[in-house]
């Protein structure tokens, strides 16, 4: 009943036109039902009223005519025989007919014969009307005048007047019609309310779902389907559409999320600049580039966007609206962003201009790409390039420096005026300078190997004392030359390490050399070793020129030198400390530098993890002697090198040491000489024409005498592969150019002493 009432009210409002906007289907259907039912009822009612009035009139007319006829019959004798009383009695009988108001009988000559008048009504006319037989309706009454004819004899005329109650009839009819119409409409509305649910219920369900989707963006909602008619089809089509929208929305969201996360990973933000509205819209990634959480803040505030751009880059970054309007081009630009936390980011802005049909720019859209890493790399490359340039200059200088004394010494040696003492001095000069150049080149090669990852450690157990002794011996000449006082403090108990003795000793000697260099003459240098739970720490302390804070941070970098120290030092490539750092890191350790400031000395430390410490032994191993080995004159040596100078030099020095030396400049020549001379030791260059060192070695090992010979390979390649290759070709030793002659002499001495080829391949070779 409430819904009927609501429907009625809705219908009422509809009719009153109060709900001009958004009519529901339900109310529209109601309106249709009400209008059609109402119209049908109105038409039917009007037709029925018209018909009823017609019938009423006809009925009344015929009724009156019937009464007149009856009265005619009844009164005919009275008229015929002039019987007033009878006639009067006949008329008085009309008393029982309440509708009859008046009646009269006239004679044919027109005289009134008898009459009947109901009290309160008008009397009949004195003479009969000439309008016969047809009921005359005037207002509320109907009159009929008829002749009374009997047997062809006109006896008289009868007049009857009756109440014609048409208005009453109409009123009654209209009230009945109103009630019927009301009830019919009510019934129609109730019925249609019940029936239209079939149509409106799914529609309303659909409307509800559509509203919820609009508000909640929940595309998983569905309208329940019930019927299989057109509405059911519409509902299922709607649901299918929702499926489609849902899946597409999801796909779009996934794609967006993927794109956003990809762009986020690539540190790319996107922006759109609507030129017409002058509104900029940026995404979250771009806000993140700016170091700002909420992109809406950036969207809203153009001043803030400007503020976040590096002041020096503002001109570049602010490509103005007008320029873009004029040119239609947005050039790709690089600028810096200063984030709220103060950090700087380099970004590239790229964008494209969109035009409308008239060719007017309307939209700019593009990306902001974070290129900070590339920029930093670029700067680092520039810095590295600059340092390399400096290094090359330094290297040229360092390499050239020894040449002047060597040339002078050579001239002096050539001079016939030079006495023996002067010649000895010249030889010393040449030897020292060559040594210095060799050290320089060794360092360079080592650094190169470390940098390119080609340096491999050969770890073996070694006593700490051995290492220190070796390092001190290497550095001793410079320390003594500058009259420094060296103090060495080691733990009382012996410490055995598992390290590459050659490399670690090199690192330590570098530190000592460094300290000697950067300390004014007669300074103090202290080398100390301490062992704690974690580390073995070796420190070298000097009373030298010290380091500034900036220098400390860069002192271990490649090609760096303490600028202020250049004038007053012995020069150098600035690679010594870098080499130390590289070697120590290869051992898993770390280096450190400390200073109380310029002029107040510095301390360099090497920290090695305890893992490198094997044990602490109680007995002390004898320190390997570096005394000159005496050559065994019975030992014959063959030197083969296609570089005649290198071969001759080596042969000369070995001869001076007392060996019998033969020289060959090719592999084939070497083999011939060897077959005839049966040398005890062969020092063979690998890269020779006709027959290389490997083939030569194989041939020699096939000879009976050759099986016991000492074979030393000399190559420019120091990789483990090369060494393995040499070993498999039959070499006992593998030396990398440039060859330290002292090392060869030691090998030969050791071979001579052992009387065979059983020279330890792991022999520690201190010094470089």
């Amino acid at each position: 009943m409430r819904s009927v009432w609501a429907a009625l009210m809705g219908f009422w409002s509809e009719m009153m036109g109060k709900r001009a906007t958004r009519k529901s289907v339900r109310s529209q259907l109601m309106r249709v039902v009400a209008l059609t039912t109402g119209s049908a009822l109105l038409v039917a009612g009007s037709a029925m009223l018209w018909h009823d009035l017609l019938v009423y009139r006809l009925t009344w007319s015929s009724d009156l005519a019937t009464q007149a006829g009856i009265l005619s019959l009844a009164t005919a004798p009275a008229l015929a025989f002039d019987d007033h009383d009878m006639a009067q009695r006949n008329l008085d009988a009309l008393q029982s007919r309440p509708r009859i108001q008046a009646a009269a009988l006239y004679l044919p000559n027109g005289t009134l014969f008898a009459q009947f008048v109901r009290p309160g009504f008008e009397a009949p006319p004195a003479t009969p009307s000439s309008r016969l037989d047809v009921p005359q309706i005037s207002g509320e009454r109907v009159e009929l005048t008829q002749r009374i004819v009997r047997n062809g004899d006109w006896l008289g005329t009868i007049y009857l007047r009756a109440r014609y109650d048409v208005s009453n009839r109409v009123i009654t009819y209209l009230s009945v019609f109103t009630v019927v119409t009301g009830v019919s409409m009510l019934a129609a509305l109730i019925l249609s309310t019940a029936l239209q649910r079939v149509i409106t219920a799914p529609l309303e369900a659909m409307t509800r779902v559509a509203r919820r989707i609009v508000h909640e963006r929940d595309y998983s909602l569905r309208v329940p389907t019930s019927s299989e008619d057109e509405i059911g089809l519409v509902v299922s089509a709607f649901n299918n559409m929702l499926d489609e929208v849902h899946s597409r929305t999801q796909a779009l969201e996934h794609a967006n999320a993927r794109l956003e996360s990809s762009m986020s990973a690539a540190e790319i933000g996107s922006w759109v600049w609507d030129l017409r509205e002058d509104v900029v819209t940026v995404d979250r990634n771009l806000a993140a580039l700016y170091g700002i959480e909420d992109e809406t803040a950036l969207n809203a505030d153009a001043a803030q966007r400007r503020q976040l751009i590096h002041p020096e880059d503002l001109n570049v970054a602010s490509h103005t609206h007008d320029d873009t309007r004029r040119t239609g081009v947005l050039p790709s630009t690089q600028f810096r962003i200063v984030r709220p936390d103060g950090s700087e980011r380099w970004v590239i802005r790229r964008g494209k201009v969109h035009f409308d049909a008239d060719g007017t720019p309307i939209l700019l859209a593009g990306l902001l790409i974070d290129v900070t890493a590339q920029k930093l790399a670029e700067e680092a490359l520039r810095e590295a390039d600059r340092r390399k340039d400096e290094f090359l200059a330094t290297l040229a200088h360092e390499l050239r420096n020894p040449l002047a004394p060597i040339r002078n010494a050579a001239r002096l040696l050539e001079s016939p005026a030079a006495d023996e003492r002067q010649k000895q001095w010249a030889r010393d000069v040449i030897s020292r300078q060559v040594q210095r150049m060799a050290l320089l080149l060794d360092d360079l090669l080592d650094v190169s190997r470390i940098t390119s990852g080609r340096l491999h450690l050969r770890k073996e157990p070694v006593e700490l004392l051995t290492l220190v002794t070796s390092a001190v011996e290497t550095a001793r000449p410079l320390i003594d030359a500058k009259h420094h006082q060296l103090e060495i403090v080691l733990p009382p108990e012996p410490i055995e390490l598992q390290v590459d003795p050659l490399r670690l000793s090199q690192a330590l000697s570098n530190l000592l050399t460094n300290a000697a260099k950067y300390t004014d003459p007669a300074g103090r240098i202290m080398l100390a070793a301490t062992l704690d739970a974690q580390d073995l720490t070796l420190s070298v302390r000097d009373s030298g020129i010290g380091l500034s804070a900036l220098a400390i941070s860069r002192v271990f970098e490649m090609f760096s030198q303490v600028d202020s120290a250049v004038d007053r030092t012995e020069g150098g490539l600035g690679i010594g400390l870098a080499l130390v750092k590289g070697l120590v890191i290869l051992h898993g350790g770390s280096v450190g530098a400390a200073s109380d400031g310029p002029g107040r000395g510095s301390t360099f430390t090497i920290s090695l993890p305890r893992a490198n410490v094997l044990a602490m032994r109680s007995q002390t191993l004898p320190v390997p002697s570096t005394d000159k080995l005496s050559a065994d004159p019975r030992c014959r040596v063959l030197v083969a090198d296609d570089n005649v100078d290198a071969g001759q030099t080596m042969a000369l020095i070995l001869k001076m040491s007392g060996y019998e030396v033969d020289l060959a400049s090719s592999g084939r020549e070497a083999l011939e000489i060897a077959r005839s001379r049966h040398p005890h030791a062969l020092i063979l260059d690998i890269g020779m024409p006709q027959m290389n060192g490997y083939e030569l070695a194989r041939h020699i090992r096939k000879e009976t005498w050759g099986r016991k010979a000492l074979l030393i390979a000399v190559t420019g390649w120091g990789q483990p592969d090369d060494k393995e290759r040499a070993r498999s070709a039959g070499f006992d030793q593998h030396l990398t150019k440039p060859v330290d002659l002292a090392q060869i002499e030691r090998m030969l001495a050791s071979f001579a002493a052992g009387g065979g080829t059983q020279v330890s391949r792991d022999e520690a070779v201190p010094g470089a």
Binding site: A76, P77, A78, A80, F81, D82, D83, M86, P108, N109, S130, R131, L132, D133, V134, R147, R150, N151, G152, D153, W154
Partner: protein, 185 residues
């Protein structure tokens, strides 16, 4: 239909107007004989004769001993018919002249007793109308009398039925006195 009816009504009205002057030509007040003649003329409409009595081509009204009335009747007979037959008025000299008539009026000036005349006539199916005191006793069927200066009549149903005539109830209702099974006697 209405138009047709209107036309018919118009035609009927016109016909009535054509007829009316001859009827209106009647004098304002009628003589007793004129009234009686009219009554006699009208009686035929309310009385039924046996089948055989109406076989003749004419409806005959016989009048004995009343020339004035006969004259009145003759005037009336010219204007119409009774029972779809033309009207003949027979002036009788004697009751024996009574031949094939449907109505017989016996004037008050007759000689001899009324009863004999009636008895003679009553053998036939003829409506006997008289105009004298106690005529019904003598066997008359309808007898005129003047009451309050108006012509009235009395009827003997028995007498009529004896001659095979049937007097209609309408006629009886306007009679001032009815003798017989339907009247007070």
């Amino acid at each position: 239909v209405r138009t047709l009816r209107a036309i018919v009504t118009l035609l009927l009205g016109a016909w009535a107007l054509c007829l009316s002057p001859s009827l209106r030509g009647a004098p304002e007040t009628y003589s007793a004989d004129a009234v009686k003649a009219a009554f006699i003329y009208r009686f035929a409409g309310f009385v039924e004769w046996p089948d055989g009595a109406l076989s003749a081509e004419h409806f005959t009204i016989a009048v004995l001993d009343d020339d004035e009335l006969a004259t009145q009747l003759e005037q009336l007979s010219r204007k119409g018919s009774i029972k779809k037959r033309p009207i003949q008025i027979h002036r009788l000299k004697s009751i024996r002249d009574l031949d094939d008539a449907q109505v017989l009026y016996l004037g008050p000036a007759h000689r001899g007793p009324l009863g004999a005349l009636v008895a003679n006539a009553a053998k036939r199916a003829v409506l006997i109308v008289t105009s004298e005191q106690s005529a019904l006793d003598a066997g008359s069927m309808v007898n005129f009398m003047v009451v309050d200066q108006r012509v009235r009549f009395e009827i003997s149903v028995d007498a009529a039925e004896r001659s095979g005539l049937n007097v209609g109830s309408e006629l009886l209702s306007v009679a001032i006195h009815v003798r017989g099974k339907r009247g007070a006697g």
